[in-house]
């Protein structure tokens, strides 16, 4: 398998999340404006800046994200500000989830979570998959993990 990128629609999920964060950021400014401590435009400006940053981050994050299943490990490459490359040996996979949150369901996407016994185990989440893609990936990883026949080493 060559490096896979995520479904383009995952950007919608991330942009919606960025919009939520922007709303939260602008909330104190709005409150201050309401109470007369700050000019009215400050809330709009703060929200706008947060939104622009969030959207840019979402777009860059999508461009950066890739995953790949090689013969003995799952590779993930992601992160905008801190680039993180994770290697998950297939022999170490404990269990695999596919999950769909409310926003993901709304845009018709799903994600796949790979657990290891490591202390950062639940970190390995692959978002932006189609529902069938997520369950295929889950089955594929399950099959490969069984074939790899490892012990959990704990």
């Amino acid at each position: 398998m060559t490096a896979q990128s995520l479904h383009p629609r995952v950007r919608v999920v991330w942009i919606l999340r960025a919009a939520l964060v922007a709303a939260l950021v602008s909330l104190p400014f709005a409150a201050a404006a309401y109470l007369g401590y700050a000019p009215r435009w400050s809330a709009v400006a703060a929200g706008g800046v947060a939104l622009v940053v969030g959207v840019a981050h979402a777009v860059l994050k999508y461009r950066r994200w890739s995953y790949e299943i090689r013969e003995d490990a799952l590779y993930l490459d992601r992160g905008v500000i801190t680039q993180v490359r994770t290697t998950v040996p297939l022999v170490r996979i404990q269990h695999v989830d596919s999950r769909r949150g409310p926003v993901e369901r709304a845009v018709g996407l799903a994600s796949c979570v790979v657990y290891t016994a490591g202390s950062r185990g639940a970190d390995v989440q692959i978002p932006g998959l189609t529902p069938s893609g997520a369950s295929d990936l889950r089955e594929e990883l399950k099959r490969l993990a069984i074939r790899a026949d490892g012990e959990d080493a704990v």
């Binding site: 398998m1 060559t2 299943i69 090689r70 013969e71 003995d72 490990a73 992160g79 500000i81 801190t82 680039q83 993180v84 490359r85 994770t86 290697t87 998950v88 040996p89 022999v91 170490r92 290891t116 016994a117 490591g118 202390s119 950062r120 185990g121 390995v124 594929e140 099959r143 069984i146 074939r147 790899a148 026949d149 490892g150 012990e151 959990d152 080493a153 704990v154």
Partner: protein, 654 residues
């Protein structure tokens, strides 16, 4: 098995004594009178006694052949079975009161869950020891070749696994001098933190008084206060450390480590060496100057923050550095490390970082001066700039990693230098992260994540700030060595070379080529995965029953987790209880007895006899048939049936 009966009053008092005292005083002070207060307190105590009696009656534990079963719970009942093989450590503790009334708490940790999985409170100390030893004995019985776990197997294993005191070799016992050092070098910073937190709010209030007082007197008072605070913290830390590590002893019995320690509260327990995840050797400048270090042994047993106060249960608090390394090698033989440092240019990064910190500090000092209008030296903190280059250099010097034969060692920190030893086999995943600033300097951080509890508290094995190309090599090397370690384990575990060659061999071999020709390996893996997905697709295309069969087959590849090694027959769905069907191979028929079920029980003579018998019988039948057919050919009309059948037989034979 039941708990110790003394545990009923102890547990009851432990639970409600605080409430009872509070209730007593509240009721007493509300003018309701002493009798009512006594009554309320008595009722609470009685309720607690009742509950604990029920708890005692409900609590039942049993050491079965391969699990420890605990049934407990008064209102919501729970039955729990813990396989011995999954138990990480067994800890026994006794406080002063518990020692006085003769009870002990037993805690069994597994890697799962967020709290202690098997908590038996309380049993008698001898029973606690018995549980510990039985768990150990049965675990080695379940894991090893003697699956029966019978008591009198043979004297050697019974001695080793029975955990008698004779088989125990002492690895380390703390000497009074070392104990004094532990106390002296322990410093409990929590009090200072608490006071700083409390005083931070009151600073503006205090500042109102500041200008009135004499500056010199003020500084003197501050100095004395700070000094006193440090002294108190130090004494507290020393006391805690002293009582924690009093009488520390670490010993090895067969394949497990045992520890005991504690002055007021006694701790003892065991850790199987096969469960050790990482070793952590820590020291600080004071310890380094005196030539001492500490060692912590980590398993996957403890949940985060579970025993933060007591530290790692099985840590060697202090010992001469070479002895600590000797002990560590006793547990994990990692050889003699020579650390690879990050590139030298990275010192500039640290210098820059420290300079920035000094600048921020100066800014704060400036702001305070301005706010208080005090006449303190504003640019005093800038003196710290002098310390920046040596600090950066020291930070760089104490960083490093080393790839050993079977272990990855990483080293970090100057003030609290930590050397982490990670066996390749324990690596769970490898994380390569690069922040914006790290990318500027062309460096990366590689973290080898394990299931140990240390990595939860930040003591993870991290090779920090190594050059990017080196990081990629390290990452790949770790992945590869993990696979080598896993296949080595598998070989060791199975002991069947042919099983190994049959299925385990292919993946690591393919992995070997990866770093050399990455593109080639990727292409190959792409090809294999494509093939695999195609195969899957074709399977999916078939009927449901076929898909089920495929799943069953895939599941069957996983060896049952009971320690028993079975040969792998999962590749075919042949029923081995039936003889194999004969396949027409023309002249190339090699195996006359393809049913290999009885090959082992057949000797040469039998073979020949059977073959000869079969042949002669066949031949006789054929001859007689032919003979009868030939001789009776004249009056063949009379017995049509027999002639026909005989003729057939003759033809066939001929």
């Amino acid at each position: 098995m039941r708990l110790a009966p003394q545990s009923i009053p102890y547990r009851a008092l432990q639970k409600v004594s605080g409430f009872v005292v509070v209730a007593f005083f509240v009721v007493n002070s509300n003018d309701w009178g002493l009798p009512l207060a006594v009554g309320v307190a008595g009722a609470m105590l009685l309720a607690a006694f009742g509950y604990e009696t029920a708890y005692y009656r409900r609590f039942d534990y049993e050491l079965t052949a391969d699990t420890l079963d605990i049934a407990s719970g008064v209102i919501s009942r729970r039955e729990r079975e813990i396989p011995y093989r999954r138990i990480q450590n067994v800890d026994v503790s006794q406080s002063v009161i518990q020692r006085a009334i003769g009870i002990a708490a037993v805690d069994l940790e597994t890697a799962g869950g967020s709290s202690t999985e098997g908590s038996i409170r309380f049993v008698s100390p001898t029973e606690a020891t018995r549980i510990r030893r039985e768990v150990q004995r049965r675990k080695s019985g379940a894991g090893g070749e003697s699956g029966t776990g019978s008591d009198t197997d043979d004297p050697a294993t019974a001695g080793a696994s029975g955990g008698s005191a004779a088989a125990e070799t002492e690895l380390f016992a703390i000497s009074p001098k070392e104990l004094a050092l532990v106390g002296a070098l322990s410093f409990d910073g929590r009090l200072i933190g608490l006071l700083a937190f409390l005083s931070s709010g009151s600073f503006p209030v205090l500042s109102g008084f500041l200008p009135d007082a004499d500056a010199a007197a003020l500084t003197a008072t501050a100095l004395v206060a700070v000094g006193g605070l440090f002294l108190v913290s130090w004494v507290l830390g020393a006391g805690v450390a002293f009582s924690n590590y009093y009488g520390f002893r670490l010993s090895r019995a067969g394949d497990e480590l045992r520890y005991e320690r504690g002055l007021f509260r006694r701790y003892s327990g065991s850790i199987p060496t096969e469960k050790v995840q990482t070793l952590t050797i820590t020291d600080n400048p004071a310890k380094r100057a005196l030539g001492y270090a500490s060692l912590a042994i980590e398993t996957a047993g403890y949940a985060p923050g579970q025993n933060g106060d007591q530290g790692s249960q099985s840590a060697v608090p202090i010992a001469a550095a070479d002895r600590v390394y000797g002990l560590a090698r006793e547990v994990e033989s990692f050889g003699d490390p020579s650390f690879e440092r990050p590139p030298k240019r990275i010192r500039w990064r640290y210098a820059f970082r420290y300079a920035l910190a000094v600048a921020v500090f100066t800014g704060i000092a400036f702001a305070i001066d301005w706010y208080l209008a005090a006449d303190l030296p504003r640019f005093g903190p800038l003196v710290l700039l002098l310390a920046v280059p040596p600090a950066a250099h020291l930070k760089w010097t104490h960083r490093g990693y080393w790839l050993g034969e079977d272990h990855l060692l990483t080293r970090n920190g100057f003030w609290s230098r930590t050397v982490t030893v990670v066996p390749y086999y324990r690596v769970q995943n490898v994380i390569d992260s690069r922040t914006v600033f790290q990318r500027r300097w062309g460096v990366a951080t590689i973290v080898a994540d394990t299931a140990g509890s240390g990595s939860l508290t930040g003591n993870e094995a991290a090779a920090v700030d190594i050059a990017v190309d080196e990081a990629v090599t390290l990452r790949e090397a770790l992945r590869e060595r993990l696979h080598e370690a896993v296949s080595a384990r598998r070989r060791q575990r199975s002991g069947f070379e042919w099983v190994e060659g049959d299925r385990g061999g292919e993946a690591p071999e393919a992995g070997d080529g990866t770093p050399d020709d990455d593109a080639g390996a990727t292409a190959r893996s792409a090809a294999t995965t494509d093939a695999v997905t195609e195969a899957d697709a074709s399977r999916d295309g078939e009927t449901d029953s076929d898909a089920d069969a495929a799943t069953v087959e895939a599941n069957a590849e996983e060896p049952p987790d009971d320690g028993v090694i079975r040969p792998d027959f999962a590749g075919s769905d042949r029923d081995y209880s039936e003889p194999a069907e004969r396949v027409d191979t023309g002249d190339y028929a090699v195996d006359r007895f393809p049913s290999d079920a009885d090959v082992a029980h057949r000797n040469e003579g039998d073979d020949g006899d059977i073959a000869r018998d079969a042949a002669s019988a066949d031949h006789a039948g054929g001859v007689s048939g032919a003979g009868s057919g030939g001789s009776d050919s004249d009056d063949s009309d009379d017995d049509d049936d027999s002639a026909g059948s005989d003729g057939d037989g003759g033809d066939d034979h001929g």
